[in-house]
Amino acid sequence: MSALQVSYLLVLVPALAAVATLALRRWQGPATLVSVGAALVSLLLAVVGLVVAPVRGTDLVPLRGSYAVGGLDLPLQLGAGPATAAVAAVVALVAAAVLVFTRWYLAADDRLAVFAATVSLFTAAMMLVVHSRDLVLTVVGWEVMGWCSYLLIGHWSRKESARRAALKAFLVTRVADIGFVLGVVGLCAGAGSTGLDTVVAAWTSDEAPGSPALRSTLLVLVVIGVLGKSAQFPFQDWLPDAMEGPTPASALIHAATMVAAGTVVLAQLFEVLVLADGARWVLGLATAVTMVGAAVLALGQSDLKRLLAWSTVSQVAIMLSALATTTRDVGPDPALFHLWSHAIFKSLLFLTIGWLSVIAGSTLASALRGAGHGHPLARVAWLFGLLALAGAPFVVGGLSKEHVVVTAYEGAASAGGPGVVVLAALLVTVVLTAAYAVRAHLVVSAPVPNSPIPPLGPDTPGPNGGIGEKSTGHAGMPSAPVLASLAVLTVLTVVGGLVLLTGLFDVHGASVWWMVLTTLLIVIGGGLAWLARGSGDPRDQFVRTPRHRALADSGFGADTAYRALVARPVLGLARVVAFLDREVVDGYVRGAAASAGVAGWLAERGHRRESPSAGLGLLALGLLVAAGTAVLTWR
């Protein structure tokens, strides 16, 4: 089986599984079995893909005639490369783990099959983006993922907060997608083709179809779309709200799809991106602000699931910052490597907290206190996941973060681009990440087992009153397949860095000095959180007043800003337009009708009197009209 066939199958299998699962939705059990089976087949295919992956530098693209629409070529091709194969493998792994977990977690849900079908479709869309060698296919996968995220976040559609979160997620990303679509349209129109290689070749050649300024503008537009999908500043606020979705959906969205897709797309466009300084600056500054801000917010969350959400925002910023700072020699692979490791440990963390929330009945930190007791695997999984998140040396997250730091340093050293800013932000983020990871660990492993009904202080609930997890109606022990998948993810979190030995990711070696420095920073951050732990929630040492808590839980009030700056003005404008349509545009129509009525009345009166003068007047009018027409058409 060639790598190319694998890439087509990896897109097709989950897509067909989605259709089949939806068709079988009446029979929940068999339907979900179909999707789980397809996910396992995909995983197997992805492993085969890893084995047959082409060597570095020789991307496979099929040679096939392309369709043309007018002057625009639409090759609509998929391709395969070494890094592609690795990313596809991790996507397949996370999707399979999520589906296995879903079968247990949502066993009592009446729309389990629909959920599984959406997860499969989501996976197919991500696979399409990963393997796409055509920007139209990228847009297709990109938008389908957005739609699936809407369905997954709003899965519990009987809950108002879930409906609102789903709407917000889709609208925020769709607004950013204005930029993405325009950027892609501009790039494709300039190249006369939507094929990725043609586009990259056209825009990097000396006779580029547009000026460097236009190229930079188009890339900035693409970057804006990426910032939206990846929940980066200023679009960050949809992601924490998306925690309203069931935990498996969060695991999928955060770990391997949706938020990570931007990294994949920018890696595909890397050759053009390095030439577009404007886009790199926008990306660098946005990610620098985001990684620090999100880490601060993570530290102050009263809900551990939202803490994980903010940690995703921060980690994706780290991935994207690697793309903003990397040089042409280093290439995009440090970012993709961080994607790989983040996918593994973040899916582990989310699935573990899904389990813990079933035990504790909530994801609020106050409820989860000591939830790890009696469940050693959950505690181990949580510990290793957090170690990787904090970037401890040698676990998978630590290795990939080292590469990003070194990349940023090289970018800063070789001047040009936002390297210095990003490097500074990275170092601050390392400290903060270690601190909130320690905090998350302390909560779960606290010695006091929580009381069955979690006491909610007056100021503890988040903006949505905490995320109430649905009671799944079974004791807190997951089924064997779930435990197995958690074990696999835990092992991979520890040894996943070995992927570097395969050479699939083209990354340079990390530097020992940087590793020592970041380890020191981690110890400082973790140590501060440890010292601050006191007797209660360690957060209390950082966020003391209720006002600060409210600020942290509302993400610095971004939601209010969205409403005040976008939603309300647009709705106001809409009301004005509706008024204009009714009273002005339609007004002249009614006016015409009224004047016709008046004219009819006048004419009728004229006829009744049968006065010769009126008849003469009408005749004169008719002559005038005839003469006017003749003059106008006289040529």
Binding site: V69, G70, V140, V144, R158, V185, A578, V585
Partner: protein, 512 residues
């Protein structure tokens, strides 16, 4: 042979139903009409595949010929009309406007209703197949009268005044447009010396800049009413809100297509230079329509009016594609046209069904969520909304994306059209906002309105089941066909694009 069958069978049966067969009982009339629509539809599909030609002298003094043929541009539209024609007749088993006797007003018979449906279909098929400018105009006008009957007699039973207003508005608005178009056609035919659409482009190519522009303005203005292009759209929401479901479907899926088809066939093909001169204005009107329709949809309370305004927005993309003047743009307009026909037909069948069930589709009234009480109807609705917001993999995406590409790299007026592309992309985000607004109000939510939760659960469920029964039988079949079409065009756009490719290339001279 196929061409004659396609026009003769529905035409003759339709005429007979509105005249001699008026007294036919509803059941027989439905069967007769369904057979006629099916035979006509099959003939149309065969004709679209075989491409036969009918050419007879008709009014020799004027050089007007009885000339029908189908080419790549009209073939998808002919097939669309044929399918929609069968579906609207089948829909008469679901919704029977002739039985509504609200306020005791006299309504027409079933046979007249079905005859009018068939006549609209015939007129549209004739217009799409006409290869003679005058013949096209006549076929174009034939559609108006039965449509007027559908709106004024079989429309919303609640208000006779609304029916009168909507139908009068429809007929007067389009008649004014038609008059302008007729003047344009006569001017064109007079100046070029032939009415044959095959020979016209060559003959009209010799015209000077002035006459070309004048003809283009007249034709475009006249056809823009039908499309409708902002600011000539105010007849559409009224007509859609009042018309029976089948009427709304025909209006959106067939009549609006006559407008865009006319724009391609008359000004774009015959007076390309004149059309290019007015293209920036047309593009601006198109994108203003996109924003205008999208914004109104954010606050509109009546769901049927909302879908109508979303039509204005979608047709804005089609017009933008046409205005770009490139082959890509023309292809975008043609596939966008077909996609809008299928999507709006789907949405109007659903919304019409909801209006039938609920009595009104006021979004301010809290109703049980479709996802909970009638999942099949809910699925069709959410799919239609997703297609409407241009989700890739469904029909709406290709037309919008290609129109943006075409407007970014147009054949002329690059500055204006690029700006229009940017605005149109913003309009696409508005489409997401209003589609999800509808989804949030109608699709998701609680099974029972909050006010009704006091009732015992079983009693409440019983009551709701009688209020919003899920779709089944004929309605389900109609929805299934439309859903299948939306997905097919979205996943395999080449089914449409490959048919129109050659003709589109020929029309704009092959280059971009």
């Amino acid at each position: 042979m196929a061409l004659i069958l396609m026009l003769l069978v529905p035409g003759a049966v339709g005429l007979w139903l509105v005249t001699g067969g008026r007294g036919l009982d509803a059941h027989t009339a439905r069967v007769v009409a369904l057979v006629a629509a099916t035979v006509g539809g099959l003939a149309a599909v065969v004709a679209a595949a075989m491409r036969p030609v009918v050419d007879r002298a008709w009014i020799p003094d004027l050089g007007v010929r009885w000339h029908f043929a189908i080419d790549g541009i009209s073939a998808p539209l002919v097939v669309l009309t044929a399918v929609i024609g069968v579906l609207v007749v089948a829909h008469a088993w679901v919704e029977q406007p002739w039985t509504d006797t609200h306020l005791g007003l006299p309504r027409g018979s079933a046979a007249t209703y079905l005859g009018a449906l068939l006549l609209v279909e015939t007129g549209a098929l004739a217009a799409f197949a006409a290869r003679d400018a005058v013949l096209f105009f006549i076929a174009f006008e034939v559609v108006l009268v039965p449509m007027w009957v559908l709106i004024s007699r079989y429309g919303d039973p609640k208000s006779a005044a609304a029916r009168a207003d909507a139908s009068a508005r429809f007929i007067l608005y389009t008649a004014v447009g038609s008059t302008l178009m007729l003047v344009g056609i006569l001017l064109l035919v007079g100046q070029a010396g032939t009415a044959d659409l095959d020979a016209l482009p060559a003959a009209a190519g010799a015209l000077g800049q002035g006459p070309q522009t004048l003809i283009a303005v007249l034709l475009t203005l006249g056809l823009a009413v039908k499309v409708p292009v902002f600011p000539l759209h105010t007849w559409l929401p009224a007509a859609h809100t009042t018309a029976p479901t089948a009427g709304s479907v025909l209006l959106a899926a067939v009549l609006l297509k006559l407008g865009t088809y006319g724009l391609v066939r008359l000004p774009l093909a015959n007076v390309p230079d004149g059309f290019a001169r007015i293209a920036p204005g047309l593009a601006i009107a198109g994108v203003v329509g996109i924003l205008w329709g999208g914004l109104i949809c954010l606050v509109e309370r009546d769901l049927k009016r909302l879908i109508a305004f979303s039509s204005v927005a979608h047709m804005g993309f089609v017009v933008l594609g046409l205005a770009s003047g490139s082959a890509t743009g023309l292809q975008a307009a043609l596939i966008g046209n077909i996609a809008h026909g299928v999507i709006s037909a789907l949405l109007f069948v659903i919304v019409g069904g909801l209006k039938h069930r609920w009595g009104s589709v006021d979004l301010a009234v809290v109703r049980p969520a479709l996802r909970e009480v009638s999942p099949r109807l809910g699925f069709a609705l959410i799919l239609g909304l997703a297609a409407g917001l241009g989700l890739p993999g469904l029909a709406g995406f290709w037309g919008e994306f290609l129109a943006l590409v075409a407007a970014w790299e147009p054949a002329h007026h690059e500055g204006v059209l690029r700006t229009c592309a940017v605005i149109a992309a913003v309009g696409a985000a508005l489409a997401a906002a209003y589609a999800l607004r509808v989804a949030r109000i109608v699709w998701v939510g609680d099974a029972v309105p909050d006010a009704a939760t006091d009732d015992p659960v079983a009693g409440a469920l019983d009551r709701i089941d009688t209020r919003t029964p899920d779709t089944r039988g004929v309605e389900l079949a109609v929805l299934a066909v439309l859903v299948a079409a939306v997905v097919t065009i979205g996943v395999v756009p080449h089914t449409v694009l490959s048919v129109t490719a050659a003709a589109a290339e020929a029309l704009v001279g092959g280059g971009r």
